[in-house]
Subunit: 439 residues, 2 copies
Amino acid sequence: MNRSSSELPRIVVIGGGFAGINVAKALKDTAAEIDLIDKRNYHLFQPLLYQVATGELDPANIAAPIRKILWKQKNVHVALGEVTAVDFDQKLVRFDGGELDYDYLVIATGAQQSYFGHDEFREHAPGLKSIDDALEIRRRLFLAFEEAEWEADEEARRKILTFVIVGGGPTGVELAGAIKEVATETLPREFRNIHSGMARVILVDGGPRLVGPMPEDLSARAKKVLEKMGVEIQLNVHVNDVTEAGVVIGDETIQAENVFWAAGVQGQDLAKTFNTEVDRGSRVVVGPDLSVPGHPEVFVVGDAAHATDAKTGKPVPGLAQGAIQTGRFIAEIIKSEIAGNAPQERPQFSYYDKGSMAMIGRGNAIAAVGKVHYGGILGWLSWNVLHVMFLVGYRNRFKVMLDWCWNYVWKTRRSRLITGDPKVHIKKLYSEHQKTDTK
Amino acid sequence: MNRSSSELPRIVVIGGGFAGINVAKALKDTAAEIDLIDKRNYHLFQPLLYQVATGELDPANIAAPIRKILWKQKNVHVALGEVTAVDFDQKLVRFDGGELDYDYLVIATGAQQSYFGHDEFREHAPGLKSIDDALEIRRRLFLAFEEAEWEADEEARRKILTFVIVGGGPTGVELAGAIKEVATETLPREFRNIHSGMARVILVDGGPRLVGPMPEDLSARAKKVLEKMGVEIQLNVHVNDVTEAGVVIGDETIQAENVFWAAGVQGQDLAKTFNTEVDRGSRVVVGPDLSVPGHPEVFVVGDAAHATDAKTGKPVPGLAQGAIQTGRFIAEIIKSEIAGNAPQERPQFSYYDKGSMAMIGRGNAIAAVGKVHYGGILGWLSWNVLHVMFLVGYRNRFKVMLDWCWNYVWKTRRSRLITGDPKVHIKKLYSEHQKTDTK
């Protein structure tokens, strides 16, 4: 392994998401050797992932090579690799390529989809946490319409065109709205045997309302708008099984060929191997300074952390803002300690709530900023502006804006290539319809 | 299967490439039922595929959903499916989803990569005929640099950063030039241990000159420019083997971890099952009217056909223009026969040579239009203008132009996500370097 042998303090950052990138950037002028390691070569803007899944945006528009983001920052060394173990006592990070020693360790490994102990659901209900996940959902979504076009049996077609989204948080709401739009606005005019009312989109959630963490009036608003769009909403229901036949709720099965999972997240499995407390969702429980108890040189930030707001006592939310703020916070601690001007006692993290928002559909989004709750076209505009602003790179911002305007005006979705081996998906496409084939 | 039961003549078109799309479009006002079937849901602009492979463009920018292209044309029914058999006597096309009867059949199945009987090369030397091929090359290309960054052993690093392109036709020339540019201009500034002279790009061909079908002076020009860029060129050499170690030329092995195959194309395997003559490259031998001998209702167009120019006696070239012209030609025949105003004898196909061109690198392309041969910045400009013009859709044209300008000015490549399961590629990345890891 090629690593510089300087005597500067070594900082290892695991993960190049919002948290990790912000840690590295905030340490720009710090005299240290920073290794940032990620299993992917790109930083992903997760809030727009559902738009890749529904054919609105290209993967490269919401992702940027990590090296490109940090290439001017000479104290950072970016590596592609997956961390397999961390040894807090020996201060070592092990990964496929070797090991890295550290003076400070920042764990910013993010979250993965959680099936609440039912990993067997995954096969029939892909989640939405990575580009590859989004491409898998895109493949299934657009393949369903190809399949339905040929299907002569009405009951079979109904099953093919029933989409169930499990989980009524922001991702589930956004995905349900976008799929309904594709089904009603974009596709019917391109098919001969599909009309706009044919596809059912069902959004189910275990809780009493949609977008749980947002204010109650906005939940009601989201529900109303989605229902007006034709999305069916089932609340307070428990998903007992997901099979090839569909989703089992209570004793009832919703016949559906496509189920997408947006129900929950958990930390990475790696966290369980740390010799420290993790919560039920595999998030590492950290102290008020976001360090691991007993290891002041190890910080956990972003979705990987179970952190508590020191002022309010509330959990820090798993949002981009949570990741950015926790990342910058611990970078300041490291910076001052390396510079030798740290206060006697470390500061305590407090989350600054800049608000939250969720897209619902064409010209409609909900937003809560402090005590101000709003929606409709104003919410939609602020959602768009904010999401473009947070994208990495001027070109991406420009192209995403262009795509949004274009899609808005023409009601189209251009990025809907069904990629992958055709032999696989076409087999799937036709194998079940041989019998109903009557020509 | 859902198919209209009208009494209009039935035309089945297999394939949605340049040839198939142009057949369908030219039959716009014909009173017929047209079924266009393709195993993919998009039309691909193949001449720009190498730019997806080298991270310059996004896949969706050079592809357009076939349904979207033809959605306004009410006499066309688009289907996703792979044809498994054609019965000329019963006039039936069989595919996974059932069968289609026809009055006219148009075979526009295009070409696949040819390994000249050595399909075992494929594993170590992916070709470049589909989006998935391009993404595979992109993955390998950018992974190589990640791998090289960590590699401490100099000899191993040299092997990792040696890229061999087999085949000196337009695709091979364009790929070699683009990879060299990535290696010298884009990546070194983002890595710590890689400098711009480190990557070797070797272009090999069995013939005596590059871009064989183009005029000799342009071949010489291409060679000179590529060599000035640092591409090593080996002509008149025979590739005896491609293994994990590299490429075997004669008895000599060029140590190379990445070999890309651009050496030749052949028709689809399906053609061998037709009860008619095919050439060595599995292309269907057609008469002067491009129909299959003995079956005037079956036409073969584009790369799938072995067609001869009726005026010059020369083979029709396997270029986009060949596909477009053969497609439009037979559409006219079908059109006049259905309208009942066909001449007693069918016309004979003659190819109109609009010229040919190939991109070499930054500000340099070669072009031959009639007797005028030119290159340099003028060639480069006309290459760019022409390729943008032939893209489908205004948005794609605009975005591709934007990307080209941006990449030209900033010497960057934005679309270089290494997608796919990280567990697979990272394992590959590190498995061979455990021993050399000295930290």
